[in-house]
Amino acid sequence: MPTDPDPEGFVAIEGVRYRYDAGGPAIVNGVDWTVPRGAIHCLLGRSGCGKTTLLKLAAGLLMPDEGRVRVAGAVLRGPAPRVGFVFQAPTLLEWLSALDNVLLPLSLKRRPGPADREAARDLLALVGLADHAGRHPAALSGGQQSRVAVARALIGGPDLLLLDEPFAALDALTREELQDDLLRLCALRGTAALFVTHDIAEAVYLGDRVAVMAAGRITHSGPVALPRPRPPGLRYEPAFAAACRALREAMDRGETVRERAA
């Protein structure tokens, strides 16, 4: 690994192309993207545009047919270490308590000690579940399960979080609470994040930068010109609405480009 702390971005996706079937269409079709250390980038697009596939390529769960993905300078050859992944569904293990679910990434590597348990309890407290450590997933609400999943992704102190529409199934209020929790946790630990969503407001609220994806390509990308830290009230300000409108227009333009290409 280079000693120079990744001048080209902490996560570097370089000319990546991927297709599920050898003769089939490219699901990810030549994407270049970099995420600096500590930044939150959002990937916005409709269902089926290839954004989840791109996220799995960034995670090392899929290997690109062309191009490469580097994390902290090292080219990925398999699932990336020191990366937390939050799936669309909470994917908790229902036979384990919330605490043991959070400890799962550590317990697969070694027997968790008292310090690990303390760290897991702290994380559960940070997502507002201090009193629920002993409960099993079936006794938790959807929002609480998502919180446990976020805590689990953060347990090893990862440098990067990859999130695949983790809050899509939650009600609007719970989703906003979890967005705030995520921003707070990432800021607290300086964790970089690549957040996949189909929700424009979510992308604007969370992202330092938003990329719009359509038909396997990034059709638009730009910084979100809103201050940090972002208070919950920001969602109702004119600047926020304007940023959302601009992204919506960019998405529509991306669609037009795609239709013309097709």
């Binding site: 992944f85 669309q88 293990l93």
Partner: protein
């Protein structure tokens, strides 16, 4: 509670109807003994102590056959699920082993193992093996792909994925297979004794048949049914204990 009461009342009504019909129509006891005669025979068997050794033999055959069949079925299910290539090679043979009528194996098993406990245990195990293998195979194959991806992401080894994800996730399905197996185990033990047993409830039925003691045969049916219910409820209790964390609350 009221359902149980209704259930009990229905049993009493059926027994009363049976008794009345036997008496009114003067049905010969050889054809169909009345419940009162069956109860008297059963009590005689219990009080004299003749029943207990046979009950113990059948229960032992059931337990051993179930344990052996379940262990081999679980192992085979895991092996076939983890190695699909091996599964494709072995599947026709496993299916064939299940399609051979187990009773037809009886004479061969007697030649191999002699009369007594062993051939019956083998027949019982052969019968119990299949539901466990099938449910293990299905349960392991149906583990949520997102969770498998989670384990890949966490760098889990194949053994860790099996022990910490797939088997616990498949446990409810595997235990449902065990419930089916326990019912089949009783059939296996009793029918195995018909062919190869010297003692046990099945062997006792054959003995009762040879002296045309219909009321003893029916009394043995009652004991066999009760034994099956005890085993089934024991497996249900085990299942509830193992799955208590899977449920709400």
């Amino acid at each position: 509670m009221s359902a149980r009461l209704a259930s009990g009342l229905l049993l009493l009504a059926l027994l009363a109807a049976w008794e009345t019909w036997c008496r009114a129509a003067a049905v010969p006891a050889l054809i169909l003994p009345p419940p009162s005669a069956v109860a008297a025979t059963l009590w005689g068997e219990v009080a004299s102590g003749r029943l207990w050794p046979h009950l113990a033999v059948t229960a032992a055959e059931m337990t051993l056959g179930l344990a052996l069949g379940a262990a081999v079925g679980l192992g085979a299910g895991i092996l076939l699920a983890e190695s699909p290539a091996l599964g494709r090679v072995l599947r026709p043979y496993i299916l064939a082993s299940q399609l051979v009528p187990k009773l037809a194996l009886g004479p061969l098993l007697i030649i191999w193992f002699g009369f007594g406990l062993t051939p019956t245990v083998v027949v019982t195990a052969l019968i119990c093996f299949f539901p466990l293998m099938e449910t293990t195979l299905t349960g392991l194959a149906e583990v949520d792909p997102a969770r498998r991806e989670l384990f890949r992401m966490l760098g889990a080894s194949r053994l860790q994925t099996l022990l910490r994800l797939k088997l616990p996730a498949a446990l409810p399905v595997i235990l449902a297979g065990l419930r089916v197996a326990v019912v089949l185990a009783l059939v296996g033990a009793v029918v195995g004794e018909f062919v190869a047993g010297r003692a046990g409830l099945g062997a006792s039925i054959i003995a009762a048949q040879s002296v045309m003691d219909s009321s003893l045969i029916v009394a043995l049916f009652v004991v066999i049914t009760a034994l099956g219910m005890v085993f089934y409820e024991a497996v249900r209790a085990l299942e509830r204990l193992a799955l208590r964390r899977y449920r709400k609350g």
